[in-house]
Symmetry: C2
Subunit: 238 residues, 2 copies
Amino acid sequence: MPASSPKTRAARQPGNAPGVPLSPSRFGDEKATRARILYAALQVFAARGFEAASLREITEKAGVNVAAIHYHFGSREILVQELMRAVAGPLNQLRLDALDRACAQGAPGLEAVVEALVGPPVRLSFEATGEPRLLIRLLIQARALPQEATNHAIFEQYDALAIRFVDAMLQAEPALPREEAFWRYAFAIGALMYIVSDSDQQYHRLHRISGGLCNTDDPQAIVRQLVAFITAGIRARP
Amino acid sequence: MPASSPKTRAARQPGNAPGVPLSPSRFGDEKATRARILYAALQVFAARGFEAASLREITEKAGVNVAAIHYHFGSREILVQELMRAVAGPLNQLRLDALDRACAQGAPGLEAVVEALVGPPVRLSFEATGEPRLLIRLLIQARALPQEATNHAIFEQYDALAIRFVDAMLQAEPALPREEAFWRYAFAIGALMYIVSDSDQQYHRLHRISGGLCNTDDPQAIVRQLVAFITAGIRARP
DNA sequence: GTCTATAACACGATAGAC
DNA sequence: GTCTATCGTGTTATAGAC
């Protein structure tokens, strides 16, 4: 593994502006090989898992050569890290922006705080990528299988996000004990990730077992249901 | 892939009694090769993911030969299926038993229903296996990566469980609309799985970001927090 | 039932032509 | 920047001795 120049040159290349929501065309110039690899990697890693996915499947989907990944990223592991950064960063920025907007109109109520937490990921997951739910499925797998490559890349920014939102929850509900606020933040994230991942194309579990009552393809319905459930849960007497 | 006799003979072999909680020794006779393979498979699949794990790592951990898996199970895929069945069956039976016990003392309150839903998996996950949380991590991965092998094996029994518990929720809270009951059942499962998987040996995210306030190694605390949050969420006005 | 040996193939990575 | 060819390794699965 020599520190050859193409790798380091490719690693410095911008390719993806921070804070920009994901979409097939927003990993950079859609024609650029690097951008096409990243989007194909999103699809394949989300569908197969990080360890199980192969670079060959990614390059086939991207329509590029196998060697292109090593030229543009240097290694499989670096590709994973850059993908996670490209996914987690914009998503969390949307949440922080939503929280800032809520705070700009005075001290936000609990509903507004929870909406800022769950609204952006649900909407982004459905609207911003070609196939919905890829994004959340990728994050679920980063959690399900802790790996050095994925965790170090994303945990730091998620920790800061959590503390920011817990503080906002505590400000909206001053009677809430600090310990409960942290537990319930975690419960909220769990409910969010589970429901978004639930309804993938093949199974639609909740839709099926509810006899069609729950439309898990409607992001507005998901957000509405999540906010009602989570706010009531946060307000529960310990 | 000829339908040779050893495979089918091995597949019929009982090896694991239904309804028995999981533990290293309860996949069957602890000395039996088949039982040792199953327990090693639980550990390795939970740690690495279904596709990424190799049979070699499983057989090394079980102290058996590589060929033993093919002799006792026939193929990698059948091993996965039998493992999922051995994991999901006993867990859900514990939940149904707990619900039955609650119903035996008259119509159960919502707290009792939720406790029957989340208590058994939390306790089983911590107490019944050598390494805690292996069990839930396995189920999370079965959800995160939909595969024919895992999903068909477990979804049917989970569907029945869901409907049983939603009915119990509706009986405890007659004013609750049926649609909301299904949404909130899914949210409860999401919160449960997320919190149990959160605190694996390396990261302990919630414990860390809460500054040590939340003890995610205490199953009683987890169940208490889950029940408070979920019951309040279920009772939310739509 | 358990082992060794090996077939048949997919993987990540790299060298080197263009 | 992009391709082909290939190396070395690890994988599932099976054949056959014991």
